[in-house]
């Protein structure tokens, strides 16, 4: 069964025909060719497939593409604006918040959504927010530092 869907992805309107069972992550990666969003556990545990659906972080391996019809989807490709990295991307670089980088796109999306609703999250709030995103390299320490750094930068602070 096919469905015609309209989705705004990183600000651009997309119209597509999708099968009922097509998962959002496959739609993003294979139909839109936006491969920044990764697939990890494929069972809604690891969070590497995290995208924002109408501004909220969700695991796109556990959402049907047809469920996103009429919604706004943001992926890691949409974080950068006008050739300039998002402060959270800069912060991940600055604070060495990644090693292998596999979890990074999902982690960035979750952290950017956190900073959108909480301008200066505490360490505990950061740890809580990223508890659905697994990282096997960093021990999370530098990710927490990066979010604090980005919050500081976004508030106009200089480091």
């Amino acid at each position: 069964m096919k469905h015609r869907i309209n989705v705004t992805v990183n600000g651009a309107a997309q119209e597509a025909e999708v099968d009922s069972r097509l998962l959002l992550v496959h739609f993003i990666r294979e139909q839109l060719r936006l491969t920044g969003t990764h697939i990890g556990c494929d069972t809604s545990h690891c969070g590497v497939c995290t995208v924002l659906l109408d501004g909220q972080p969700v695991k796109s391996c556990t959402v049907l593409a047809v469920q996103a019809d009429g919604c706004k989807v943001s992926t890691v490709e949409g974080l950068e604006t006008g050739g300039k990295l998002h402060p959270i991307q800069e912060a991940f670089t600055e604070k060495h918040a990644l090693q292998c980088g596999y979890c990074t796109p999902g982690m960035l999306m979750t952290c950017s959504a956190l900073l959108e609703r909480n301008k200066s999250p505490s360490e505990q709030e950061i740890r809580q927010a990223i508890s659905g995103n697994l990282c096997r390299c960093t021990g999370y320490l530098n990710i927490v530092k990066a979010v604090e750094y980005a919050a500081h930068k976004m508030a106009g602070g200089v480091s």
């Binding site: 069964m1 469905h3 099968d19 009922s20 069972r21 998962l23 496959h26 494929d42 069972t43 809604s44 545990h45 969070g47 995290t50 909220q56 972080p57 969700v58 695991k59 391996c61 556990t62 959402v63 049907l64 047809v66 469920q67 019809d69 979750t110 809580q128 927010a129 508890s131 659905g132 995103n133």
Partner: protein, 290 residues
């Protein structure tokens, strides 16, 4: 992983959804947040010919208190419930439990009604609604009816819902004065199901003795376990260490968990005892603070 093929329907009203369910019978499944159903379909633990997505039906997402009842729309996402002032100030068991369901990203999609109606004893919702003495409002072709939460769960993934019925609301009676409730859960990591968990609500009488108690256990058998004997034991007694310990022992003896990666039967039963005692203490403290 890709689920087996199915047809997807997105009805605009409850009646339309019920119509689809009755047309397709047991071959149709209700999709709410999809946080349990979609993984099950992907892992091919289940299949269905028709998915009826109730996620866009207006009027299913609300939390309101009126006429001595807390009403939670079945479509209320767990992230919304977790932020409700009403819930967090008066329903300790919900305030404790909702932030422990899965992880924050899952709670952004997962609905409380789905958690309750899925019929999985590993979900936290079932024990909570039993402890709170909730009534579950369901709608089908024959109209609306209510089912007491402690009569809703029949077997593993089998509930009182007929194939054409949808859970629409969870009605929780406002706890009387000097009541408190709590949830204590043991899980190996964020996102895991409970190795054991206990939901309790207690009400104290004017002398400070336990007037009423309700204890329910998560993941302690094919259905949520209501520890009736333990609750009856406590009623009329002083809420002291000795009585709490005995009630917790009785609750654990009602548990019938199965062994898995989360532990042996003995371990899980022992954890059910420990967590019941902790939940009782927390709930009693809250009851005293009223």
């Amino acid at each position: 992983m890709i689920p087996a093929p199915f047809d997807y329907h997105r009805p605009g009203t409850l009646d339309e959804a019920i119509g689809l369910l009755s047309r397709h019978g047991p071959d149709a499944k209700v999709l709410a947040g999809g946080m349990s159903l979609l993984p099950a379909l992907k892992l091919r633990l289940g299949t269905c010919g028709h998915l009826v997505d109730i996620g866009r039906i207006p009027g299913l997402e609300y939390v309101k208190e009126d006429a001595g009842t807390l009403r939670i729309g079945a479509g209320t996402r767990q992230c919304v419930l977790a932020q409700s002032e009403t819930v967090n100030s008066r329903y300790g068991v919900l305030a404790d439990a909702v932030p422990l369901i899965a992880d924050p990203l899952v709670r952004n999609r997962g609905t409380f009604g789905g958690n309750v109606a899925n019929g999985d004893p590993a979900n936290d919702g079932p024990a909570i609604v039993i402890a709170l003495g909730a009534e579950l409002v369901v709608r089908g072709r024959q109209g609306e009816r209510t089912v007491a939460a402690n009569r809703f769960y029949k077997d593993l993934f089998v509930t009182a819902l007929a194939p054409d019925e949808i859970l629409t609301e969870i009605r929780i009676p406002l706890p009387p004065p000097r009541s408190g409730s709590a949830y204590r859960k043991l899980k190996r990591k964020t996102g895991d199901y409970a190795a054991a968990a206990a939901a309790v609500q207690v009400t104290l009488d004017a002398r400070g003795a336990v007037q009423r108690a309700c204890i329910a256990l998560t993941n302690a058998g094919p259905t949520p376990v209501e520890a009736v004997q333990a609750a009856r034991f406590l009623e009329g007694k002083a809420p002291d260490e000795k009585n709490i310990a005995e009630a917790a022992r009785l609750a654990a003896s009602a548990a019938a968990p199965s062994a898995d990666r989360r532990g042996s039967v003995e371990y899980k039963r022992e954890m059910a005892r420990v967590l019941t005692a902790r939940a009782l203490k927390a709930a009693l403290e809250r009851a005293g603070g009223n």
